[in-house]
């Protein structure tokens, strides 16, 4: 049975309040999830008053402003800042997304920022994605062909076959979808989750791959695949506008018709 409430050591406490020192008229309250592994205390919510007149348009700009000007100990992952790397995936205003492409003006009221849901927290906004990467490895995300490597012939793909990968190859593995999925929350150790299943579909659907049947067989499992109940939180949260629910539906359909 799934545990719906947070364990004792994860209960969130009220944290520090950082009052504005710039005397700005345009203030916004930003609530950020904090947890420091060195203190041994429970996680807390810190509230920062941020001067919005001197802040960039995205949520990531706010985080940088806090880190640079208010509290340098704030920890989060980021890299490209253009929605391509997927490092700054977090829960913003209750929905998973990339901080670098989410405009804070789209959100009304106080801004709540949490790490991706139902992960072991490493520090502050960083969640541990080890399980997800292991599951990704388990679907063998590389081209498998009958060639020995000696032939040195190009694996050709028609435009039509290439188009079949549109909407799937764009996935950046930010884990927004998997960590938004209640099924993945309760069965994350066994159920592969939307991100990995979308990737599985991407390889099943690749005309150059020679291992389609084996791939389908591997994924056809009560727990690995059929824990998807089409809740569609994944599609609702994907920052790249992809549709993991459709990919999973397509795998189920392939299995039912093959």
């Amino acid at each position: 049975m799934a545990q719906f409430s947070l364990p004792q050591n994860s209960k969130i406490e009220v944290g520090n309040y950082f009052k504005d020192k710039t005397n700005s008229k345009n203030l916004r309250k930003i609530n950020v999830y904090r947890w420091d592994p060195s203190t041994g205390k429970n996680p807390r919510i810190d509230t920062f008053e941020v001067d919005m007149d001197n802040c960039g348009p995205k949520v990531l700009d706010i985080l940088f402003k806090i880190k640079n000007e208010i509290d340098p100990s704030l920890t989060f992952r980021r890299s490209c800042a253009h929605g391509v790397c997927g490092s700054c995936a977090m829960n913003i205003d209750g929905v998973n997304g990339l901080a670098c492409i989410k405009s804070h003006s789209d959100i009304n009221g106080d801004l709540n920022i949490y790490p991706l849901p139902h992960l072991k927290v490493v520090k502050d906004l960083i969640g541990d994605l080890t399980t997800l990467y292991k599951q990704y490895e388990s679907i063998q995300p590389w081209l498998k062909v009958d060639q020995t490597g000696q032939e040195k012939t190009e694996l050709k793909q028609s435009q039509k076959d290439r188009e079949k990968l549109d909407g799937y190859y764009e996935c950046i593995l930010c884990a927004c979808c998997s960590t938004s999925c209640p099924s993945y929350w309760w069965n994350g150790d066994k159920y592969l989750g939307p991100a990995v299943l979308l990737q599985a579909y991407r390889w099943i659907n690749d005309s150059r791959d020679g291992d389609k049947k084996e791939r389908l067989k591997k994924v056809a499992d009560e727990l690995k695949l059929y824990r998807c109940h089409t809740i569609m939180n994944c599609t609702n949260s994907c920052p790249k506008g992809l549709n993991p629910a459709k990919a999973i539906g397509s795998i189920k359909k392939m299995l039912a018709t093959s």
Partner: protein
Amino acid sequence: MENNNPLSPHLQIYKWQISSLLSITHRIVGVINFFAMILICVWAIFIIFGQNNYSAVNIFLNTSFGKFIVISLCWTFSFHILNELRHLVWDAGYGFDLKVAKITGMITFIGSFVLTILFYILGRNFF
């Protein structure tokens, strides 16, 4: 080594979507229907044992609480049938588009009330 790091909040903070609300409603309503079916079967067995039992249940069902239960069950069955149809279409590979899924979700929700009224009127006037 046991990882004692805290678990990030999930159900507590995640914003409900139309699709996720309908999904959990589908699950709850399914459980209710399961028990309702058992009760209906028990009721049917009672009828075999005589008229007195039938009238006892009849009196109960005509109280306002009984009526509430009957109408509620009309709704739970209506909702489950319509949402199950939605799942059938999904299984056939259609309707995954976010906009389409939202529209079919709303149709299911509103349709379940329409179907409830239809069930009730049909039941009242013809049986």
